[in-house]
Amino acid sequence: MKEIITIISLPVFAGLLLFFLPEKFRTFKGILAIMVVAVSGYLTIVIYSSANHFCSLNELSSGQSGLNTGFGLIHDMGRYITFNCDNLSKLIVVSVSIFSFLILLYSLVYSKDGRVRNYYTYFLITLGCSYGAILSDNLLLFITFWGILGITLYKLIQSYDEESSATAKKTLILIGASDSIMIIGIAILWKITGSLSMGGISVHTSNILSVVAFLALLTGSFTKAGAFPMHTWVPDYAQYAPASSTAYLPASLDKLLGIYFLARITTGMFILNEWLTLLLLSLGVISIITAVLMALVQHNYKRLLGFHAVSQVGYMILGFGLGSMIGVAAGLFHMINNALYKSGLFLSAGSVEYRTKKQDIDDLGGLSKVMPLTFLATLIFAMSISGIPPFNGFASKWMIYQGIIDFGKGTMIANKLWVVWLGLAVLGSALTLASFVKLIGGIFLGRQRKEFEGLREVPFLMWLPMILLAACCIFLGVFATDYIVPKLFMPVSGAFQFQGLWNSSFVSLLVLISIILGILLYLAFSLKRFRTEDSFIGGEKIHDQTGYSTTEFYKTLGEFRMFSWFFRKAGEGSFDIYDQTKKYVLRLSHQLSEAHNGVLPAYIIWVFAGLIIMLLIMI
């Protein structure tokens, strides 16, 4: 299997090569990058169509003596470089290729202004390392690739002012800290099992050591995917990074990787006990609800989308927390769906920003006439994420819900609480709908502003990826029950029967029939009698200020004591693990700095006190 080595090393080396080309040839670098992505994308399809296998470096490099001696320098290296190509990793690898290709296509135009230096370099290194992290079986190899991804994530955000550099720093610290926690988890795992192979480990979480190992690895997965309580970098990143970077990492690749690792640890490496299941499900619904509540009150549309990137992860965690076959399949399906519509939404956000240079919903309105394709794509993404049938978001949520209802048959505490999981998941979906009504209404619908009259649709290379992603959303939704789930997800999770009844493709046909009938009805009965008029608002004249901004929609919620408390605390950063930790670390360092008072006798006392303590310990 030479392809594995190729798809990992080709993008990384191409990226390094591009690093040495001057920024002047940015378009050329972009074209080169897209060729690399296309080639590695093709190779991932080759891998997808090949049989499952497990391979180590020795098999991979056999026949290539140069490679062999190169690796032979480090003793016993072949033992650490092992790859696992099973249904799960094959599925994720192909998805990574698709998203990278589409987002890179978009970036060709979007990042023309060169806001991020060496964008393509970091893009390609990210791609290679993602392939590596997904395919590697050895945990040390995995964490190496995983760690590099944190650095490229940091480099893909541009630092132009204080806030964006603070965000970049926050991202790096949170990701870096979680990586180090993961290393502790891997060490404990090695201590328990004596093995570092992901495929070969199966640990019962019955003693404290294994639970700690699980939680440490879970921290890494949650930080990458952006789930509560490690999510706080995602909204900040979404707000300050360029939209294509956000669409690439937090919206699609980091979700794929984080959830991939969650799938590995919950379904293979660990056997969860009752309390860990309860913990996972609780964290899932907390992610859903808190993030979506925050999204409701945002004014910056990129930040709003960032909170949804957190909220949707909750559904996937629910799926994996259930642990049943349908739960795992639903979690994976939701992961792919989420990556589709969320990266699409960030791309549309980028398009809106590209044309209008505005980031606030309050400053926008009525763009649907001037940017019809962006609007169409965004509407489809918004309906998918809010779970409107027959789009893909509904299909995966429907699977998660039936997983929960089925889960309710069990006897454990987590099973008994199925109504809580179901109720909060459905409430989260209603709140998602609410915040997307605000987004769609505020940006695209409503009264068209005078200043936007001369705008044009974004260039072809920018709208094409959005339309393709939207088409994927429809496709995955329409063929969900007959084709997509049995063909793509059942090989990973194992075959199961749907408990519920939903005939996605036929209902979609009926949607089509209804829309055609509706158009015919309009044409037949009232084509001649259409007249356009300005709005009627009770006889008042419409002025520029007349209007009801969609950002004011949910202000009523803030009047309730519970919500106002929540929003105030969230504004202060009380739920932000980074801010809280920062507060305590700074306080501690402040206390330690008290000792540095510059008085010589005090220092001498410290030195002697230290010596005495050391002596006491040694004796």
Partner: protein
């Protein structure tokens, strides 16, 4: 395939639900008139209303809005209502076919009309419509969880089955769910939920004629408004039918069973009409509190009672 399209368009889909809903809407208006000591409209008044809008009236499009979305939103609303209606009525009328949907599907399809109204309202660019849209959305946010808890209670009552036909079978084999304490509590909650879903008084703030002049529908006229009327008629029939299926052991389509079926629907509609005629419109904040605290509390109490087997 063809038979399913027939189910969708004719019976028990579009045509049937529209006609039944139109008659129910006449019933509602007649009762309202009697409560107010008026004579009330003739039986075919809803049909006159509909066809006048469709055939006679001109359609006015918003000048500064998005006309395409404005016109397509009512179509999607009708689709959602009819689709939910088909999935509710097929098991209710005991028609066995492979084309079915479970409770979650029905639950989500029933949200489509409200969602379409909001999108249509926002597309019109009218500030009053935006006020209405905002209220409708807040109303959805408040009753959605409550309605789900009702459905979850029913699912618990029949042993984690969540397709409508097995719920009806469980009731017909045993006793109707409304015959138990938990059933009565859930039924009360459900009535208020569908009152809010249909935007009837006391939860008609999205439309509030007197203050925001029909709110979400302010810009609609002609054929587009006819479609909205159609969606409203259909919803007016299928939601009571849904409650009959969930609580009152459905229909038996034979002999006197048909009479009973009609009477059950009329009973539910009568309750809704009486509530709407004897209550004032509440403010949106009061509605949120009503659902988020009181109705959820009742539903949770009912679910706890169910967990103990009553």
């Amino acid at each position: 395939m063809a038979i399913n399209v027939f189910y969708f368009l004719v019976f028990p889909g579009l045509l049937f639900t529209a006609i039944a809903g139109a008659f129910l809407s006449w019933f509602d208006r007649k009762i309202t008139a009697r409560v107010q000591f008026r004579k009330g409209p003739p039986v075919f008044q809803p049909f006159y209303d509909f066809f006048k809008l469709l055939l006679v009236k001109e359609t006015i499009l918003p000048k500064y809005g998005s006309p395409v979305i404005f016109l397509l939103a009512p179509v999607f609303a009708v689709f959602g209502a009819v689709m939910a209606g088909v999935f509710i009525l097929l098991p209710l009328l005991n028609i066995t076919t492979g084309f079915r949907g479970d409770l979650i599907v029905i639950f989500y399809l029933l949200t489509i009309p409200s969602f379409s109204y909001i999108i249509g309202a926002l597309a019109s660019g009218n500030p009053l419509a935006a006020v209405g849209g905002s209220r409708e959305m807040k109303l959805i946010m408040s009753y959605e969880l409550t309605f789900l808890l009702v459905i979850a209670g029913i699912i618990m009552k029949c042993g984690q089955h969540f397709d409508l036909s097995s719920i009806i079978q469980v009731q017909q084999a045993g006793s109707p769910f409304i015959g138990s304490i938990s059933g009565v509590l859930l039924f009360i909650v459900a009535i208020f939920c569908i009152q809010a879903k249909l935007a009837l008084v006391p939860f008609d703030m999205p439309e509030a004629e007197a203050e925001i002049t029909e709110g979400i529908f302010i810009e609609y006229s002609g054929a587009a408004y006819a479609l909205i009327k159609l969606a409203k008629y259909i919803m007016f029939f299928i939601l009571p039918a849904f409650l009959v299926a969930l609580f009152m052991n459905g229909f038996r389509i034979e002999g006197t069973g048909i009479l009973w079926a009609v009477l059950k629907i009329f009973a539910v509609v009568l309750i809704m009409t009486l509530i709407r005629n004897t209550n004032p419109r509440v403010k949106i904040k009061q509605a949120i509190r009503f659902f988020a605290i009181w109705m959820n509390l009742v539903a949770i109490v009912a679910i706890i009672i169910i967990a103990f087997g009553y």
